[in-house]
Amino acid sequence: MSQWETVIGLEVHVQLATASKIFSGAPNRFGAEPNRQASAVDLGLPGVLPVLNEAVVHMAIRFGLAVDAEIAPVTQFARKNYFYPDLPKGYQISQLDHPIVGRGHLDIIVAGKDGDTVKTVGITRAHLEEDAGKSIHDQVPGLTAVDLNRAGTPLLEIVSEPDLRSSAEAVAYLRELHAIIRDLGISDGNMNEGSMRCDANVSIRPRGEEKLGTRTEIKNLNSFRYLEKAIEFEVERQQEILEAGGRIKQETRLYDSERNETRSMRSKEEAEDYRYFPDPDLLPVTITPAQIEAVRAAMPELPRARRERFVQQYGLSTYDSRMVASDHGTAAYFEACVAVAGDAKLTANWVMGELASVLNREEKEIGAAPVSPEALGTLISRILDDTISSKIAKTVFEIMVTEGGGADAIIEARGLRQMSDSGELERLVDSVVADNPDQVAQYRAGKTKLLGYFVGQIMKATGGKANPGQLNELLRARLDGDT
């Protein structure tokens, strides 16, 4: 065990999936032409006033309830002042003293050598704010090009306590948050498009020491993998410095995924001083217990409850349940599939195995799976009713993926139906026994591993279509018998 202990806290920015922006009626959509979705409010033109979108308030309450947090009875917006071209007002509307979501907690599952353990991670707060625009430095030579479409996009910033102790725990926490926001329907969670991004505060301290070490902040990590890699690099970097007798500088660093390293961002001449103050353009927002209860009554099932339900309802192991029930999309697929297939364990294996590898290969989300859950369910049911073997089922599945079509049609058209006619199989057994007298003699002399050889011969002769269970039984009866 290393003499150092890693301490991590995460700040996660979640883009809320509203129709319009947080303070203006401009559309909140990704991918429009530059500045086509930037209204006068988003541009910070003189004389405009922000008006708060009620959907963001509801979404924040939903999140707060999902992590058992206190919802502020009165919440307030503040101005965070700094100058940058993609922030035309000269301040970002954010929250400081009275965030909408107070202290809460989130249980995460940490996979370990001795099985999964559950760890409770503290959530310090979550607050609402507007996103800034985008500055592009390589668009026009010598100038900075500004696109303000993203300005005013509603963000929920979720701040964790420094409770995470490894990159694996940080990833598990981010995955659970991701699953929750998708279940709550408050964000699409699309990390490629920046709908969820994360800053990691990382420090190390000698094991047993209570006092926290000096931390660095790694900015803008937009994938689970980069979060893991960046923390691992940063922990190693800090260890090397401290073990060489050096000191860690508190600073902001950027992760370079191509080089797999973190780099110091140019340190500013002056310490950050945002001069927060309450935004006079926005009145305090009152949230009544009745509003909170209305949101609570409409809460969907969350990942943790769903995992427990899958164990109860389908008899899945906790491992299988974690794999198929954590993510909203995977869980919906599994449930639709098992409704047709009937066998939960076999369905879980297919969803985690063949389906997952196809999605991985084709870089698709489960919502865009090339085979519908009902179609996969039918295929699985053909294994269960002995129409085809598991091995042939994989072939059929591949055809469903690449060429389309239903399992039954493919099985019929290609003659893949399993051979379960015992007369036919017996004839094959007879001929393979007759053709291989040496192997038969060895088998009967005790080399029973040769059973696989006979199975292989018959599978070859039938193109893999012999019913394996039945074949094994017939072969054993024939070889273990007297003649």
């Binding site: 559309p27 086509r36 900075t144």
Partner: protein, 95 residues
Amino acid sequence: MAIDAEQVRRIAHLARIGLAADEADRYIGDLESILTMVERMHGVTTAGVAPLAHPIDVGQPLRPDRVTETDQRDAYQADAPAVANGFYLVPRVVE
């Protein structure tokens, strides 16, 4: 409360206000008198008084989540000093 010319220059820089060489000293007096007024307010007994976030005693009205704005890019960009390909152009901010 005493402040010095260095603090004045720092505040001016944070607000991106240009100060002529002799202006910092002049503003020391102005800022000190503002701070003196604030200090006087510290003397008021405020026990039992709820902090006031806003002088208007009504709640924040909320807006239904609907798109109400149409694309006015061309009109907005007509007033911009420099645009290209739909972007606003500004002096380069990174080297």
